[in-house]
Symmetry: C2
Subunit: 271 residues, 2 copies
């Protein structure tokens, strides 16, 4: 089932213009949100980020339509991962966008396996660098092949997810989430300019950390520094907070802060 | 008009699975070739490169079907740019590919403006780096946003194309083509490991340069070195050889070698 062209349709197939730049050039962005009991968790933040992503690529999408698409799909699939995609729409051959782009918007739902959220995972550092020199490193664009390839490597090596450094050797993120490192009560996460998506859960944690006794810091981290942290965790909208139990050969044992942060996020998600 | 699902169809719209990973993740590759008098120029090399690109992403596409798609479109549009796209096909949510991918293949044609091929152009160095740490830097994948954004910057600054350095400050390529620099009789082009597509025209020139009195070299180039070259040119399958007349503020005057190389390439294209 899809929300496509203003309505819910059965299946995942739709009449689509194969000159759509989302398909030909990855010229678009997407959002992944969690539906709980038919409600989009942190809905406003998700809508605002997708609108901002399109704007930063140079085309406009209507926040009301995005919210409607998300809501419509969540009504049909009350417990699900909701993916909303926007593209610049079709265009002539070449890189130059059409003068008057006609953006496309659709949304879909997928089941989230029970136990997926908040489950611990193990990270495999990849040799592919996150390219922080590109604005796309701070967006969920349709060009996700680096993450696909690195995730494949990670799986082949017996890990759950890839860990990316950027081109200046700073820690960036996991293939599908932001990273946090705890040092005492200091809770550090890489700044956006290190090639990092402004994750919705990342923002939530940065905003609420002080209330729970942590000192949030957006700062660059090296890999050796990350490996010395008291605890490391990944955040995204479907996993919530995923405690990292290993990065390569380095093992992390359970840390009491994790339960505090997870309880706080669960409460915020339910609010 | 498209070649899609084994046949030529009118228009550019087709029933398409919006969970196709080419669209959701940029998980696919494409090829751009030139049709002259209904014949694909350097057809075998184009087919082989697209098959190799898919293989390096981990899925198989049939070279015979690719050749058929290209030929069918070129028969309908004898003088055109032929774009052939392959994707890994549809898949479930997430990065992991399906166990048995069902790749998609289609081809389309677009007019090439008279005077586009062999026309000189001006390059604008972009701050976005070509990420040579990623295998995708050596492929024409569906994730082309960096090139789109850099081309927009270049146009806004009054230039024709963007010039990319890689993350180690070596010259990589233009947004849509390979680069060559002439130093006396030495004809240098960045090696693939600097984050460069194995361009078909690039390969043709490397293979034939010696016969025309040049010494071909695949080696890393810095930007200052490139700016000191006797001549610089861009190559791709539609432009052929495009003499570069400026890189930022540095101007290049016409060089007699250009006419020799262009005549040689024209002959090879017509063969």
């Amino acid at each position: 089932m899809l929300w496509f062209d203003g309505a819910l349709i059965a299946g995942t197939r739709a009449p689509f213009d194969l000159t759509d730049r989302g398909l030909t050039l990855g010229d678009g962005a997407f959002d992944t949100a969690l539906a709980l009991d038919g409600r989009i968790v942190f809905a406003e933040a998700h809508v605002a980020r997708l609108v901002a992503a399109a704007a930063s690529l140079g085309f406009a999408v209507d926040p009301i339509q995005i919210a409607e698409a998300m809501r419509a799909v969540a009504s049909a699939f009350p417990q699900a991962a909701i993916r909303t995609t926007v593209t610049r729409g079709s265009g002539p051959r070449g890189l130059a966008p059409p003068a008057e782009p006609r953006p496309m918007l659709w949304a879909s739902a997928a089941p989230v396996a029970p136990g997926f959220a908040f489950a611990p995972l193990r990270l495999h550092p990849t040799a592919i660098r996150r390219n922080e020199t590109s604005p796309t490193s701070r967006l969920k664009t349709l060009g996700y092949l680096d993450a696909v390839l690195a995730a494949g490597e990670a799986r082949a090596a017996g890990f759950d997810e890839a860990l990316f450094l950027n081109t200046r050797d700073a820690v960036a993120c996991a293939g599908t989430g932001n990273l946090f490192a705890l040092f005492g009560t200091r809770l550090a996460t890489p700044p956006l300019h290190d090639g990092v998506l402004a994750g919705i859960v990342r923002g939530e944690i940065l905003g609420s950390a002080t209330a729970f006794g942590f000192k949030p810091e957006e700062r660059s981290l090296t890999l050796p520094e990350l490996l010395r942290a008291d605890a490391v965790f990944l955040t995204n909208s479907l996993r919530g907070i995923a405690p990292v139990t290993a990065i390569g050969m380095t093992v992390f044992t359970d840390h009491p802060a994790m339960a505090v942060l997870i309880a706080a996020l669960r409460a915020a998600m339910a609010a």
